[in-house]
């Protein structure tokens, strides 16, 4: 049992004051809006839990669009995870272990991660266009009717390929770090036992990458669940509502329609989901650190 003295936390009181102004009060405002309705002119009317009731009822307009966007968002996260994680592992396994190629690979891999979201969105918006984009033009010339502004499937494919292009490197770099931490003795032992490539992967590399993979999955899930800029730039949520994810819908609701009450209720539920994932992420990370300290001690 370890007794923790938390008195040093009092030193963060000045920071707390700043955070209160920039984060806590705004959150309180959101909660405050979520129980009221406004018709503009800064006049508010008490609505109780009405917006939450609408939001959680899929047969209502608000609930319908929220759950649609939520399922769409979860489907998107599931698809990109199913692609990026195995692909990232494969890339990490294929990366060189020593020599100048390591640095070259690492720099190349890190490049997409350094590009801002809106630029990535713009790149793919133009790249996938049928008239002036290389990708769209080529695919169309191959005889495939590809149009991401008109066809739902094409829009999804473009967004998914864009996300895979942008973020697979992150998974690969994390896996590479995990692979690098495996002592050579493991591989020597495997060679002596005459283990196949697959056996080495299954019993040495994959278990040793477990932690970093968990971090990669959680990180990618959170990011993709909160994705806004890239689909906003690429498709604007269209065609129709086909790529309207929760954050895009939220902005439409709050700033497009100025339905502050509905948007506040939606953002609270959205926030709560993200908070749970963040908490899991934080718990996994801190326990991974604690484990390492135990091992090193």
């Amino acid at each position: 049992m370890k007794v923790v003295n938390n008195r040093a936390w009092f030193l963060v009181l000045p920071v707390f004051a700043i955070v209160a102004f920039s984060a806590i009060l705004p959150i309180m405002t959101v909660v405050n809006y979520s129980v009221q309705d406004t018709f503009g002119n800064n006049q508010f009317f008490w609505n109780g839990v009405g917006w939450f009731q609408d939001l959680l009822d899929p047969s209502k307009e608000l609930g319908g669009r929220f759950f649609d966007a939520l399922w769409r968002n979860l489907l998107f996260s599931a698809i990109i995870l199913a692609i990026e994680v195995p692909l990232g592992i494969a890339v990490a396994l294929a990366m060189p272990r020593e020599g100048w190629k390591v640095a070259a690979c690492l720099v190349l891999m890190a490049l997409p991660l350094l590009i801002p979201w809106n630029v990535v969105g713009t790149i793919w918006q133009i790249f996938a266009r049928g008239d002036i984009g290389l990708l769209g033009w080529t695919v169309n010339r191959l005889g495939i009717d590809f149009n991401y502004t008109g066809h739902t499937l094409d829009a999804w494919i473009t967004i998914i390929v864009m996300d895979v292009w942008h973020w697979t490197s992150l998974v690969a770099l994390l896996c590479y770090a995990g692979l690098k931490s495996i002592p050579d003795a493991y591989y020597q032992a495997a060679r002596i036992d005459g283990a196949s490539r697959w056996a080495v992967f299954r019993t040495i590399q994959l278990p040793k990458m477990r932690r970093v993979l968990l971090i990669a999955v959680l990180l990618r899930f959170m990011d993709s669940f909160m994705i806004y800029t890239e689909p906003f730039v690429l498709t604007g949520g269209g065609p129709g509502n086909a790529t309207t994810f929760v954050s895009i819908d939220l902005v439409k609701l709050a700033l497009g329609q100025f339905d502050l009450g509905k948007a506040a209720a939606m953002s609270i539920v959205y926030n709560l989901i993200i908070l749970v994932v963040c908490w899991i992420f934080y718990t996994v990370m801190t326990n991974a650190d604690a484990d390492r300290e135990r091992v090193e001690a």
Binding site: N6, F44, Q53, L275, V276
Partner: protein, 93 residues
């Protein structure tokens, strides 16, 4: 005193955050008087009292939302369930 009426505060919001603020204050005072100790419960992760409060509050939010969505606006039952959940978290997690 500046005019804050443009922020459209309601007493219900104030009550909600007062309760959470009071909880945090009580827990802080308790943490100073009786330093928190970590323990490992059914979740198999080390938690302090503060962690358990966080898990309780977060769970309570979902319990209230689920009750509202499935059963309707009857906060008494949802609150009761949340309290039972919080008690279980503080006892077993």
């Amino acid at each position: 005193m500046p005019d804050f009426s443009w922020m459209a505060w309601t007493w219900q919001t104030a009550l909600f955050f007062s309760v959470i603020g009071a909880l945090l204050l009580v827990m802080t005072v308790l943490a100073v008087l009786f330093p928190e100790t970590e323990r490992v419960g059914i979740l198999r992760i080390p938690t302090t009292r503060g962690d358990r409060l966080f898990i309780s509050l977060l769970g309570a939010a979902f319990i209230n939302l689920a009750w509202l969505g499935l059963m309707g606006p009857d906060p008494v039952w949802a609150l009761g369930l949340s309290l039972a959940y919080a008690a279980a978290v503080f006892r077993y997690v």
